[in-house]
Structure formats: C-alpha cells, structure tokens
Amino acid sequence: MRLELVKRPQRSALFSALSPFIAFALTLIAGAILFALLGIDPVSAFYTYFISPISEVWQLHELAIKAAPLILIAVGLSVCYRANIWNIGAEGQFTLGAIVGSMVPVLYPELEGPIVLPLMLLMGMIGGGLYAAIPAYLKARFNTNEILTSLMLVYVSQLFLDWLVRGPWRDPQGHGFPQTVQFNDSAILPELMPASGRANWGFVFALVAAVVVWIMMSRMLKGFEVRVLGSSPRAGRFAGFGLNRMIFFAFILSGALAGLAGISVVSGEINQLKPVISPGYGFAAIIVAFLGRLNPLGIVAAGLVLALTYLGGEAAQTALGVSDKVARVFQGMLLFFVLGCDTLIHYRIRLVGLRAKAPAPDPATAGKLGEAH
C-alpha cells in the first residue's frame, strides 16, 4: 500500500476560496485536543492566541512591527519563486542590508539631518541587492544550485556581522561588549503614531512594496515575463525573454527588499548593530510567501497571520503559563493545515494497493509534493 498525490485536472474555485477557512477549522480542532490534553481550557487558549493580540492598540502596533519585515521579504521572494528561482538566503540579504545601511550612523555618528535616513535605507537596499547578486551570478554563469549558495551565504553574512560588532565596529565606550554605538536620532526610523505604540515606517514600506510588486506582477510585462519563465523557460526563450537577466532581476529585487527590511529593523527597533538582529525573519518569510500563495496581497495577510501567531504564543505563555514549545507546536499545526489544504486543492490522494498493481502513473499528471507549488 502506498499513497500517491495525483494532480487534479482542474482545481475547484470553491475549495480554493474555502481552503484557508477549512485549514483554520482543522487547526482549531487539533489545537483544542492539544490544549485539552495539557489541561488548559481550549476556549480561553484560543482567545489568548487569536483575539488578545488584536484586542489592544499597542498590540496592533506590535503586530505591524513583527509583520513588516516578514511581508517585505516575502514579497520579494514571491517574485523569485514565481520565476522558479529558489532564493533561500533572504536572512543573509537582510543581514547585509542592515550592515551596509548602518555604515552611515556607525562610521559617521556625528552626521545628522534629513539626508541620513534615506541614505541608510538606500544603502540597505543596495547592500541586500548586491549580496543577492552573488548567488545570481553563480547561477547565471556556472549554473550553480542557488538553493545551496544563497543558503550558505546566510552563515557568511551572520559571521561577518558577528566579526564587525566584536571587532572594528565595536562601541569603544561599550565595556568590551559586542555592539556598535547607538544610532543618533536622525538615523532612527520614526514611529508612525508614537502616542499609542511603537509601530514604525517599516510597515508602510511593506505595504507599498506589496502593492507595487502586485501591480508589476499582474499588470506589467515584467510580471508576465516572470511567470512565463517560471512555468516554462523554453516558451520564455521563444518569447525572447532572457533567463539569465531574469535570474539577476529576481535575486536583486528580493535581495533589495530583504535589505530594506534589515535596515528598517535595525534603524527602527534595535538602534544599533548587535550579533543577533533577526529572529529568523528571512526563513519565516519563505513560509509567509507560500502561505500568501505567492501573491503580494495574499502575503500581506499571511504576514499578519504569522505575526499574530508569534504574539499569540507569547500571550499564551504569560496568561496561561504554557511553554513556548506548545506555542510553536500550535503555530506549526496552523502552517501544516494551511499548506496541506492548499496541496489537496491541486492534488488528490490515491491509494495504490499492492495486489492490484496500478499502471505506472503518467509522468505528465503525477506530481510529487516537492513540485506542488
């Protein structure tokens, strides 16, 4: 006996629309069992998890802060993935963007004025974009597997940051601790509504990026080019689209957005460079990209949902005393059901018995999970 995923000839529009809700319901059921086993009232657990984080203004701000880098990075990644280019190294581009953007306030701490911030943001985008150009070049020139190169460059960037903040960029007044000087006020990304919470302009950048990329993908020739090259490189070549140009375009665009996310987080929240500047935004954004079905507007929603599960997990810790492990298991269940339901829209499960040897599946219609995107 084995299970096979067979591609459906056409997907159901109804279930495509319903899928997120079905997934959510399944999560609630599985979550209720989990919480009941732990001796926690499922209703109060769900309230803490999903409602309490959006029931207070300051928490909405926190939601925006947490979602902003996820959305910003995922929007860029969606272009890559649509083009069938697998940039896994957004975390590294995030880090390099933060480093290059921070050159201004770290190396010229006395530089002040309205020019500082735009310069930092621009340099952050350049830093992230150029860093992403490395795997792009390797792929275009040597046909290197970009999944490996972009992923490995993440570690390079993190160790580079580590070296910088312990060595040449260390705050001489910092008692030898690994951190740079605090940014001056003109290098700090302003808060949107300081009276009610901490949310900063990073969230606005994320929304603007999502809308711009959505317009590009759905209304402009470039978006068409991305999709054609992604689904059929051969057809793209006949249409005169260059695959190598697309590799650079997708990598540099997503790298620049990840870099912008990096410098926004450092400038708006941390206000200095430290050995750790990201709780894994670059990797979580990969999930966000698929959760949003590679659609920039869907990604905005997906980013908010994932951010909500982080906040909900923390609320559950303080309010119910559940371990952070439980919160993560619950988050994992949600993602599992969402992606699982989406898979079942495109594929159906076929049981293949041992006795009745089924004819070999037609390679054109049989798919594997790995190709389900």
Binding site: I65, G167, G176, Q179, I270, P279, E314, T318, S323
Partner: protein, 355 residues
C-alpha cells in the same frame, strides 16, 4: 478605512481596560529568559529562583515569564508586553536585554526593572550579577589536581568580559596548583546549542584535554565527558543527574534569595535601583557537592571556597597578562570596574581572544 480602523482600535482599547481593571492587588513579578527553562542550566536556574520566590512569598505575589526570547528585536516586545500586562517588577536575565530594558524602563517609570549581568542603570532599572569567577577559580584548582594530561578544555559562548573573567579565574586557579597547566578554548558563539557544545567537547578531548568545563548552558559537554569516562564541571545548575561519574562539581547560580529580597522591597515600598555583584559569600554562587575526586582534592576545594567566602579575591597579584606584562602587582587586588570590562587573558591561556 481609516475610520473603521480608529473605531476598531477604540473598541479594542475599551475592552482591554475592562480586562485589566479586575486584576488582583497581588504584586505581579515577571521574568524574561533568554533560553528555554528546560535547558537545565542558566535559564532553568533563574526559573528556580522564580519558583523559590513564589514559595517564600506565597499569595503576596503572582508571577509570569517569557522563555526563549531572542536578544534581537523580539526582546523589546517581551518587556513591553510584561509592562503592559501589569507586571510591577520585571527581571531580564540576559546581557543582550540591556538596551531593550533601558528603552522600556524609560517608557514605564512606575515599573521596576532588574537586569542581570548588564551595566546600565537608571531610577527604575537596577543591575544584579553574580561573581561566577569565584567558583571557577575553585574549579581550576580541582582541574589541575585531577588532570593527568595537564590540559583542560573550555567551551565558551561569546567574548564578553563575564566570560573572559571566568576563563582567567579558572586558569589562575589551575596555575596555583600546576604552573604549567594548559587550557584549550573553543568558541561556539551561542549560549545554548547542545549539538555544537557536544562537538566542541569531542574536539577538545581529541586534542588531549581530559577535563572539560564550559560557559554555555546545556549539559551536552558533561554528557560527552561521561561517555568517554573523563571528568568535567557543570554549569549554572547541578548537572550530576546527567553525568553521575563525570561531574566534579558545578558552579551553581542561586538567584532565589536575591529575588525574594527584591520582591519584599517592592512590597514594603523600599525598592531602590541598585547595582549588586553577589558571590559565594552571599550564597548567590554555590558549588554543588564535590564528587568523583579523592579526599585531599575535596579538602583543598573546600578550603579555597572558605577562603573566598571570607573575602579573598581570586584576582589577587601577582598576575601577568597573556603577553607577559604584569597586570596586578604582589598583593594587589583587581577592582570591580576592571573585572567588569575585562578583555584580556592571563598568562598561559592557549588562545587568541577574538577582538
């Protein structure tokens, strides 16, 4: 759209006020841990301190905690959340929480903050730390007595003064017994990474060390020592369960009494910001029972422990820096300021301090 948003926000605000109004008049004390409380090391030990405070103060307090909080941007939110959820005093237990705590403390002047192992203080932000180096000096002496190869391995996290201090104290202790003692060091760049810690322990043993110690939070290194039939030291908590034949002693943090004292101060209104550095004398640093060693080594360790408890500082001259120049003259004692910013090795350490 904007109107809708505002309407949503105001309803939400009204709702949340209704919820907070019914909070009890117990003192709510909160903790933020950098690792999981199940690390059986540093964060675990802070959580033991929290539980100790709960037991001592009973229904006068209620507690909450956030574990596994990354030292990056999430730390700001963790403190903000606890401040907003009615915590009256918040303990942040990792160095990397310093600037987030400074920021949040400024925003909530009525809430008291206590930061472990940092150096920035304000009206409502105090600092507390433990003189872990005192225990490490004793451990160095034991290592030099017990080692056959004369080489110990030391697994370390980050090159901050706290850690450098521990290495230096261990080395001074070892040299007081065996002047030719060697110390090999591996940096794993993490406070808690059992996989890396175990690999580092294996590498150090392969290079000839027969005793292991660490400034990281898991039990992994000690477990490798147990497997290989070699010896090692525990860190932060008593790890004898994980290495019954390998653990010589463990440099244990005992935060409970301090937490109780500070919570009492909040309860009776005498809390003031402070900057304390507690040691063996105060019971904040404890060495778990000396095991797996002969009686003469045990006696020596006990004697040194008592000497330190009586006020002797392991950083008493003559002490030489790694480059051979003299740091402390005969009988000169290092002052706390220098120790808290320590960024060099003493003579004999076989490593280059990452700069």
């Amino acid at each position: 759209m904007k109107k809708l948003l505002i309407a949503m926000m105001t309803t939400a605000a009204a709702l949340s006020m209704a919820v907070t109004a019914e909070a009890a008049d117990k003192l709510k004390a909160c903790w933020v841990y950098v690792g999981p409380i199940g690390d059986f090391g540093y964060s675990y030990q802070h959580d033991q301190g929290r539980l100790h405070a709960e037991k001592e103060l009973g229904d006068k307090i209620e507690t909450a905690y956030l574990e596994n909080v990354s030292e990056g941007p999430d730390a700001d939110r963790a403190f903000e959340r606890l401040a907003r959820e009615g915590c009256k005093i918040i303990f942040g237990t990792s160095f990397g929480f310093m600037d987030p705590m400074v920021k949040v403390a400024k925003k909530f002047p009525d809430i008291k903050f206590e930061h472990a192992t940092g150096y920035k203080t304000s009206e409502n932000l105090g600092v507390y730390n433990a003189r872990f180096y005192e225990g490490r000096y004793v451990m160095g002496q034991i290592a030099a007595k017990m080692s056959k190869t004369g080489v110990a391995g030391y697994i370390v996290s980050f090159p901050i003064p706290e850690v450098v201090m521990g290495i230096d104290a261990f080395m001074l202790g070892a040299q007081s017994v065996n002047p030719d003692f060697k110390l090999k060091i591996v940096w794993v760049n993490s406070w808690f990474d059992p996989g890396k810690e175990a690999d580092a322990a294996k590498a150090l043993f392969d290079q000839g060390a027969d005793i292991i110690t660490q400034h990281t939070d898991s039990t992994a290194a000690l477990q490798v020592a147990e497997e290989r039939g070699l010896k090692g030291f525990g860190q932060s908590s008593d790890m004898i369960k994980f290495a019954p034949n390998a653990q010589l002693t463990s440099n244990t943090d005992n935060w409970g009494p301090y937490y109780v004292e500070r919570l009492k101060a909040v309860l009776d209104g005498t809390w003031k910001t402070d900057n304390v550095w507690l040691g063996i004398k105060d019971g904040a640093v404890e060495l778990s029972p000396f095991t797996n060693m002969p009686d003469d080594v045990k006696a020596m360790a006990e004697a040194t422990k008592k000497k330190i408890a009586d006020g002797w500082n392991p950083f008493t001259g003559p002490v030489f820096k790694q480059d051979g120049s003299q740091w402390l003259k005969d009988g000169e004692v290092a002052d706390d300021g220098t120790l808290l910013g320590l960024n060099f090795y003493v003579k004999g350490v076989d490593d280059k301090l990452p700069q």
